[in-house]
Symmetry: C2
Subunit: 290 residues, 2 copies
Amino acid sequence: MARIDKLVVVGVGLIGGSFALALKEAGAVGRVVGVGRRAGNIRRALELKIIDAAGAFDRDTFGDADLILLAMPVGQMRDVMRAIAPLLGDRSVVTDAGSTKEDVVALARKELRKSLARFVPGHPIAGTEKSGAEAAFAGLYRGRRVVLAPLKGTDAGALARVRSAWEACGASVFELQPREHDAVLASVSHLPHVLAYALVDQVARHKDAKRLFSYAAGGFRDFTRIASSHPEMWRDICIANKKALLAELDRYGRGLDRVRRMLDRGDAKALEAFFAGARDARDRWIKDKQ
Amino acid sequence: MARIDKLVVVGVGLIGGSFALALKEAGAVGRVVGVGRRAGNIRRALELKIIDAAGAFDRDTFGDADLILLAMPVGQMRDVMRAIAPLLGDRSVVTDAGSTKEDVVALARKELRKSLARFVPGHPIAGTEKSGAEAAFAGLYRGRRVVLAPLKGTDAGALARVRSAWEACGASVFELQPREHDAVLASVSHLPHVLAYALVDQVARHKDAKRLFSYAAGGFRDFTRIASSHPEMWRDICIANKKALLAELDRYGRGLDRVRRMLDRGDAKALEAFFAGARDARDRWIKDKQ
């Protein structure tokens, strides 16, 4: 790949920080400049050598950047795009790591204006429940999928630059339409996050919460791992992908009603078929992934 | 602890097999006899030296046993208790590993008759999503909780024997009333299992299932791990603990409705508070466990 001489990462957390570390490890980047709201986090990113310098929303930082990754929670996307639009140079390619794409594309169309052709909407499907620069690591994207959602007018060179950067991180790149992306992610990511948060909430609200938690074991721990994720990020994802997520929540409610009726009428055969069907589907998925 | 000269395990799967292996590792058991429905599984348990001999529902197997662990799915409990009741010697202590306790106690009262005082209802809160002798390992119970639910008339010596056997496996033993046990487990184990199965079912039923699964990542994998559990076992647990589980399902449905309304009205503040509250509760739990 063509080396990225200067990378700017806005939001140096788990996602942005790991992108910088992976590119450094691959020798695919020169200088990395980090921009962020929280001074403490930027300081930590400097200490951890995730970034080489702290930048700001000014022409020095953005004017000569080869690649800019927007990796803040989606709720900050509008303000950040508006701030950087007048600062971007003619060669700068912008991409993002937002977990939703329809809303990001709509914002980009409105805010990035003359740089729109060099904006490549993206979403690395990777993460952990941890957040902040402290959580970043170079291997996060190895073997994972990254979705790019180029627009009709997206510049081919810009797309190639973003694609090869993610490939240098060890990821496989796929292209989806923004709407497709959001529907897929609502189903396999956004819905389970809401479900996990809702289970923890239910146990925590219980009058006997302390005792309930004391008997929770490995199944509960793994089921709820994603409920330790970043609340602000998940607020923004849910709001941005509201329509698809509501549809998935409604389907889930109808599914639970079906199980509830099997259980209520003591239908052992139907319950076993339901459990066995789901188990087989999951086992096939795990096998196919390997 | 007093050594168990002869242990009989009915159902030599993950739970029963791991109990035998842990006691062997601790030097706390002499001879282990396994009884099971599937000849292939019993053969494998012999090969793996989980059991020393294969037994049957006869006096040779059960008459001189010091301890008998019933570790089959709860749906087989009635038949097994009925079969062993006339075979039990005067010294034999019986315990079980069933995931529900009210139903097991009711069955024991009816079926075990003169041996009831030497029956100690139990439930090791441990497991993986795997099943069968192949999945058993000596360390399964190390650092885990085991609930015993002795009855008013339970013999103190029988209770002590079961308690010390589980402690020899590395577990911590707690006592709960059967009804308390079932309510606690409905909340932190049975409900999440149903929720995980329901999510996999929803994705699998989707017309675009193959593509959805292809974008499912680590969060989905961990959330649904317990949906690879034994369908027959979970059928039996759900039916046995129907009342408590229906109550938990209904609470969960109301909880999801609350989230749905926050989302529908785009209430970012309420959503963030909901996510943050759940995250904090989970993080406290993880910290307290350590």
